[in-house]
C-alpha cells in the first residue's frame, strides 16, 4: 500500500501554476497605484441607485428594531412560538434522554 499520489501531484502542480498565474496577471503593485488599493481608493460620486446596489452586501450590521413592537408582529409571534418549542423540547430531552451515571 505504498503512496501513489501521482495524480495528486499533477493536480497540485496545476493548481500552483494557476495560483501563480493569477498572481502574475493581477494588477501590478506600484507605490502610486492607488487604483488597486481598496483602503486608499479615491472618493467617487455615485448615483443613489448604483450606491444602493453596491452597498447591498456591505451594510453595517446595525438595526433599530423596537423590543415590544417586534414581538407583537406576526414575525415576532412566530419567532416566540418556535423559540418556545425549541427550548421546551430541549429541556424535555435534557431530563428524558439523560444516561445518568449511578455514582452521581
Amino acid at each position: 500500500m505504498k503512496c501513489s499520489s501521482g495524480p495528486i501531484r499533477k493536480a497540485c502542480a496545476t493548481a500552483i501554476a494557476l495560483m501563480v498565474g493569477v498572481m502574475c496577471v493581477a494588477s501590478p503593485c506600484r507605490a502610486d497605484d492607488s487604483a488597486t488599493d481598496s483602503a486608499r481608493r479615491s472618493i467617487t460620486h455615485l448615483s443613489p441607485k448604483t450606491l444602493a446596489l453596491l452597498t447591498q452586501p456591505a451594510q453595517p450590521d446595525s438595526g433599530t428594531a423596537d423590543s415590544a413592537a417586534f414581538f407583537k408582529t406576526k414575525k415576532g409571534i412566530a419567532v416566540l412560538a418556535l423559540l418556545g418549542a425549541g427550548f421546551g423540547y430541549t429541556l424535555y430531552s435534557k431530563s428524558h434522554d439523560r444516561v445518568l451515571s449511578p455514582v452521581r
Binding site: I8, R9, M19, R30, I43, T55, D97
Partner: protein, 914 residues
C-alpha cells in the same frame, strides 16, 4: 523533502529573520484605524469619525496628524463616516472586523456642503500590513454554506495544513489550544478536546499558530479561536433543522475490502440523525443591553461498522449570552453554556472486537462560562479582564455490569467490557490585559497581560465486582474457561496551576516596516493534595517577527517570525508521580477459591526537578498579496521542531539484547529484555529523555534516546471572501513530518515510549502518521442568480496517512509480565514505511433560498457528504501477522483495510434566518 528543495527553504527562511504579531488578538476584538485627508492629500485634524455596527455607534476625533482609531471593536460588519464643517461628509461601509484584525480605513473629505454625502463602497483590506502572523479564518458565510459535517470541533480541519486534527505537523489530540470566546475548553489532563458546542453558534473560526503573538501560548500545534454569536440592535434569529436516516446512506465497501476484512463488510449506517437549533439575539435596550439565546438538540443513532449494532447519542445544549454597554467605553459580557452529552452503545474494547454487550453508557454533562469587562480609557488605551472556566464530568459505565473476560486463546472479549471510568474536570482562569498605542520612536501598539489558570483532574477506574471479588475483578480466560483474574483500579487527583505574563509590541518603524517583538513566560506547577507540588517549570518564550508593506499601498506584505510555543499545562505530564493507583494482583482461579499468585505495586514516579516543559520552535516566512478588493494570495514557508520531550525512564534498568524473528520479513530482529526488572521496576523518572543511554547488564551502552519531530511545509492559499455572490478558498500544502515520536496523540508527554528500548530504539525514526505530503483543498460557495440556489462544494485530495507494521512479542521473552502489551509491540520497519491511499473526497450542498426581504430568508437544503462515495482506506490493520476479530472465522491479515472513509450520506434540512 523531495519537492521542497533546500534552496527554497533557505530562501523562505531568509524572509523570516524574526517573529511576532499584532497586539490585540486574545481580546477577541479588532481595531479600525485610518487617516482622514482632504482632496489635496493634507491630513485633517478635528474630524468627527463615527463607527456604526451591530451594537450602535462610537465617535472619535482625528488627532493632529489626521489619525483616528477605534480600539477593541467587536467582530462584525461596520461603517465608518467622517464629518467636518465645510466638507462633504464621507462614509465607507462593508468593513468586516475579525478577531485580531487591524484594519486601515483611510478617508478623504472633499470641500462642499453637508447636504451631499460621498460614499465609498470599500472592501475591508484583505492584507494586514502590520501583523507578522499568518492566520486563516472560516467566515460565517462559509460556515453557513459549507458542506461539512456539523461537528463544530472539527471545523478547523478544512483549513490548510490541518488534517485529522493535526495542525502544522503537531500532535492530533493534544497540541491545539481550543478556545471558545477565549475559554480554554481542553481537557486539563491531556489537552484533548472536551467540551462540545453548537455549530450554529459559531460566528467565525480562526487558526493562529504561524508567528502567533505572545498573548497566545499553551500549544505546539495551533490556536483554534472560535468566536460565537452575540446579540445586537437588530433582532437576528435562526431556526434550523437537519436530518437523515438509513435510506439516505450509501454503501462504499468494495468486495475486496469486505473479503479481506469481514468486519467492514457492513458499513457504518446512520439510522437517524436529527439536529435542530433555535436561536435568537437582539436588544433588550437599544445600544445598551443585548441578549443571545440558543437551544439545540442533537441526536445520532447509528449502526457502526463492526459488531456493535446500536450507538445512540443525544446532546441537548443551551447557550445564553448577555452584553451590556453602559457607555461607549465599557462593555460587559457574560455567557453560559450547558451541554449534556449522552451515549449508549459506546464501544468498550477495540471497535473491531466490541459487541453490544461490550459497550458502555456515557454520561457527560458540562457547564462553560465566561464573564468579561472591557474598558476603553481613550483611543490610545484599553483594558480587559476576563474570568472563564468550565466544569464537567465524563462517566463510562458498562452496559453489562458484570466482570469482563478476555480469552487468550481466541483473542476475544466476552460478557462485559468489565470496567468503569469516571473523569471529573474543572478549569478556572482569569486573564487581564492592557493595550496602549504610543507614538514614541515610531508607532507602538503595546500589550501587557497576565493570566492565572487553576485546573483540576480526577480519574477513577475499576472493575465490576462479584461475590468472590467485591473490590472488582477482570478475568483472563483460556479456551473459554477462567484461568487468571486481576484486581486493579485507581483514584487519582492532579492540579495544574499556571501563571503567565506576556508583553507584546507592534512597532511601526517607518511607513512600511513593522517589528513585532514579544515575550511570554509560563510558570506551570503540577500538584496533588497528598504529595504537594511535583512538577515545576518556568518557560520563557521569545517571539520576534516583522511585516514589510512592500509597496506602501497595503496590498503586498512580506512577513516572517521566529517563535517558541510551550505546551499548555496538562496533568498527563506528571500524573504518574501522584498516588492513588492500587496494586495489580493476579489470582489463579482454576481451583475452588482464587489464589493470589502475583502482586505488582504501582511505582510512584519521580519527576526530574530540572525537567523542561515541551515546546515547539518555529521559523516561518510568508508573502501576502491582495488581488483586487476581495482576494488574497499567500505563500508561506514553515519549519517547526519540537523540543523538550518529556517521558519516563527507569534510570538504572539494564537490558539484554535478544534476537527474535521478524514475522514480516522472516529475518532476525534485535529486541531488549529487561534484565534487572525486580530491582528497578519501582524506580521511574519523568524527565526530558533526550540523551538518556540504555545499557546492557555489563553497563555498556546499547543505544541513546533521541526523541525528535520536525515539520517542513510550503503552503499556497488563495482566499476569496464573499462578494458578487461567491466566496471560496483554494489551498495547496506540500509538507513533511518526520521524527521518532509520532504525532497522533499526546505521545510527546504522556506515553511510556522511552521506558523501554524496545519502543525507544527499534525502527523509531521515520515518517510520522500525520504526514500528508500533498494536500489540496477547494472550498467554494456560489449563489446562482434568478433561481436563488446556493451551490457549495468542498473537495480535498490529500496524501494518505502512514502506518508501520508491528508485532506483539510475549511478555516472558521481554521480561515484561503483567505490563501493558503496548511495551511489547516494536515496529518491524522504519516508522511510516507504509501509507494508506490518497483521500479524494467531494462534499456538496445545495440550498434553495426563498428571500423574504432584507436578511429574512427561508431555505431548504441538502448536504451530500462523500458525494463520489469514495471507499478510501483511512487506516490499515498494521499488526503482524494478523488480528482476530469477534464473529469473524479467520484472522484479519496485516496490511488490509482497518477503517474506511464514511460512505455517502445525504442530509436534508430547512432553515429560517433573519
Amino acid at each position: 523533502m523531495r519537492y521542497l528543495t533546500k534552496s527554497m527553504i533557505v530562501a523562505l527562511l531568509l524572509l523570516a529573520p524574526a517573529a511576532i504579531t499584532d497586539a490585540r488578538a486574545q481580546t477577541f476584538s479588532g481595531t479600525v484605524t485610518g487617516t482622514v485627508r482632504d482632496d489635496q492629500g493634507g491630513v485633517l485634524p478635528g474630524v468627527s469619525v463615527t463607527l456604526t455596527g451591530r451594537t450602535g455607534s462610537k465617535t472619535m476625533t482625528t488627532d493632529t496628524t489626521g489619525v483616528y482609531r477605534f480600539p477593541a471593536v467587536e467582530p462584525g460588519t461596520y461603517e465608518v463616516s467622517a464629518d467636518l464643517s465645510g466638507f462633504k461628509p464621507s462614509r465607507q461601509g462593508g468593513i468586516d472586523v475579525t478577531v485580531g484584525s487591524s484594519l486601515n480605513v483611510d478617508l478623504t473629505l472633499h470641500v462642499g456642503g453637508l447636504s451631499e454625502t460621498v460614499s465609498v463602497v470599500g472592501e475591508t483590506p484583505v492584507v494586514d500590513t502590520k501583523s507578522s502572523a499568518t492566520q486563516t479564518e472560516v467566515s460565517q458565510d462559509l460556515l453557513y454554506n459549507a458542506p461539512i459535517t456539523r461537528t463544530a470541533i472539527n471545523i478547523f480541519n478544512v483549513m490548510p495544513g490541518a488534517n485529522s486534527n493535526s495542525v502544522y505537523g503537531g500532535e492530533a489530540s493534544s497540541a491545539n489550544a481550543l478556545l471558545i470566546d477565549g475559554v480554554d475548553t481542553r481537557d486539563p489532563e491531556s489537552g484533548t478536546a472536551w467540551t462540545f458546542y453548537n455549530y450554529n453558534m459559531v460566528q467565525e473560526v480562526q487558526i493562529q499558530g504561524l508567528g502567533a503573538p505572545a498573548e497566545y501560548g499553551g500549544f505546539t500545534g495551533a490556536v483554534v479561536n472560535t468566536i460565537t454569536k452575540s446579540g445586537g440592535n437588530r433582532y437576528a434569529g435562526l431556526f434550523d433543522f437537519i436530518g437523515s436516516n438509513s435510506t439516505l446512506n450509501s454503501n462504499n465497501i468494495t468486495p475486496e475490502i469486505a473479503s479481506t476484512n469481514p468486519s467492514l463488510a457492513s458499513p457504518g449506517i446512520t439510522k437517524k440523525y436529527a439536529d435542530f437549533t433555535t436561536q435568537l439575539g437582539g436588544p433588550i435596550k437599544a445600544d445598551k443591553l443585548f441578549f443571545f439565546l440558543s437551544a439545540q438538540r442533537f441526536q445520532l443513532d447509528s449502526d457502526p461498522s463492526g459488531p456493535v449494532t446500536n450507538n445512540h447519542q443525544v446532546s441537548p445544549r443551551f447557550n445564553a449570552k448577555l452584553t451590556w454597554q453602559p457607555s461607549p467605553n465599557d462593555n460587559y459580557m457574560v455567557s453560559l453554556q450547558y451541554d449534556g452529552y449522552n451515549i449508549i452503545g459506546r464501544a468498550g474494547v477495540s471497535a473491531l472486537l466490541a459487541t453490544d454487550a461490550l459497550t458502555n453508557r456515557e454520561d457527560a454533562p458540562e457547564f462553560v462560562w465566561l464573564g468579561q469587562w472591557r474598558h476603553i480609557f481613550s483611543s490610545q488605551t484599553f483594558a480587559e479582564v476576563k474570568y472563564t472556566g468550565w466544569l464537567g464530568y465524563y462517566d463510562l459505565n458498562p452496559e453489562v455490569n458484570k466482570p469482563g473476560h478476555f480469552d487468550g486463546d481466541s483473542g476475544l472479549y466476552s460478557v462485559s467490557q468489565g470496567w468503569h471510568y469516571y473523569a471529573d474536570r474543572n478549569r478556572d482562569q482569569v486573564n487581564a490585559s492592557i493595550s496602549h498605542y504610543a507614538d514614541k520612536f515610531g508607532k507602538h501598539e503595546l500589550k501587557f497581560g497576565a493570566e492565572y489558570e487553576h485546573s483540576k483532574v480526577r480519574n477513577r477506574y475499576g472493575y465490576a465486582s462479584n461475590a468472590n471479588f467485591p473490590q472488582g475483578v477482570y478475568y483472563y480466560d483460556y479456551g473459554g474457561a477462567p484461568y487468571q483474574a486481576y484486581t486493579y483500579g485507581y483514584d487519582i487527583t492532579a492540579t495544574n496551576n499556571r501563571t503567565t505574563l506576556f508583553a507584546q509590541d507592534s512597532w511601526k518603524v517607518g511607513d512600511r516596516f513593522t517589528l513585532n517583538p514579544g515575550f511570554r513566560l509560563d510558570m506551570i506547577r503540577g500538584s496533588n493534595p497528598t504529595v504537594g507540588t511535583v512538577y515545576s517549570t518556568n518557560n520563557p518564550a521569545p517571539r520576534i517577527g516583522f511585516a514589510w508593506d512592500v509597496t506602501g499601498t497595503y496590498n503586498t506584505v512580506v512577513k516572517g517570525a521566529y517563535s517558541q510555543y510551550y505546551e499548555g499545562a496538562m496533568a498527563s505530564v506528571f500524573e504518574r508521580a501522584v498516588p492513588g493507583v492500587l496494586p495489580k494482583v493476579t489470582y489463579d482461579v482454576t481451583g475452588s477459591q482464587p489464589v493470589a499468585i502475583d502482586t505488582i505495586s504501582p511505582p510512584l514516579y519521580k519527576v526530574d526537578p530540572n525537567v523542561k516543559h515541551p515546546r515547539v520552535d518555529e521559523v516561518y516566512g510568508a508573502v501576502e498579496r491582495a488581488l483586487g478588493g476581495s482576494m488574497r494570495l499567500t505563500f508561506t514557508g514553515i519549519y517547526r521542531e519540537n523540543k523538550n520531550f518529556v517521558n519516563s525512564i527507569s534510570p538504572n534498568a539494564t537490558w539484554s539484547p535478544i534476537t527474535v524473528t521478524n514475522d514480516l520479513t522472516g529475518g532476525p530482529l534485535t529486541l531488549y529484555k529487561w534484565a534487572n526488572r525486580a530491582a528497578t521496576q519501582s524506580d521511574y523518572l519523568i524527565t526530558n529523555v533526550a540523551g538518556y543511554q540504555y545499557r546492557d547488564p555489563n553497563g555498556n551502552p546499547i543505544g541513546t534516546a533521541d526523541p525528535f519531530r520536525k515539520y517542513k511545509a510550503f503552503m499556497a492559499v488563495l482566499n476569496k471572501r464573499l462578494s458578487h455572490r461567491w466566496s471560496g478558498q483554494v489551498s495547496y500544502v506540500l509538507s513533511q513530518a518526520t521524527g521518532s515520536v509520532d504525532n497522533t496523540s499526546d505521545a510527546q508527554v504522556s506515553s511510556n515510549q522511552f521506558a523501554t528500548p524496545v519502543l525507544a530504539l527499534v525502527n523509531v525514526d521515520g515518517t510520522l502518521t500525520n504526514d500528508r505530503t500533498h494536500e489540496f483543498k477547494v472550498l467554494g460557495s456560489y449563489t446562482i442568480p434568478v433561481i436563488e440556489v446556493a451551490a457549495n462544494a468542498y473537495w480535498h485530495m490529500i496524501s494518505g496517512r502512514t502506518f508501520t507494521p508491528f508485532e506483539q512479542y510475549s511478555s516472558s521473552v521481554l521480561g515484561l509480565s503483567g505490563q501493558s502489551s503496548t511495551y511489547r509491540r516494536p515496529l518491524l520497519e522504519a516508522r511510516g514505511s507504509e501509507r494508506t491511499p490518497p483521500e479524494r473526497i467531494l462534499d456538496l450542498s445545495f440550498e434553495k433560498i426563498f428571500p423574504m426581504g432584507g436578511r429574512n430568508r427561508l431555505g431548504v437544503y441538502a448536504q451530500v457528504l462523500n458525494a463520489l462515495n469514495a471507499s478510501t482506506i483511512t487506516a490499515a490493520q498494521n499488526r503482524v501477522p494478523n488480528v482476530s476479530i469477534g464473529g469473524v472465522p479467520n484472522p484479519v491479515l496485516y496490511g488490509v483495510a482497518g477503517t474506511v472513509f464514511a460512505a455517502r450520506q445525504v442530509n436534508l434540512g430547512a432553515r429560517w434566518s433573519f
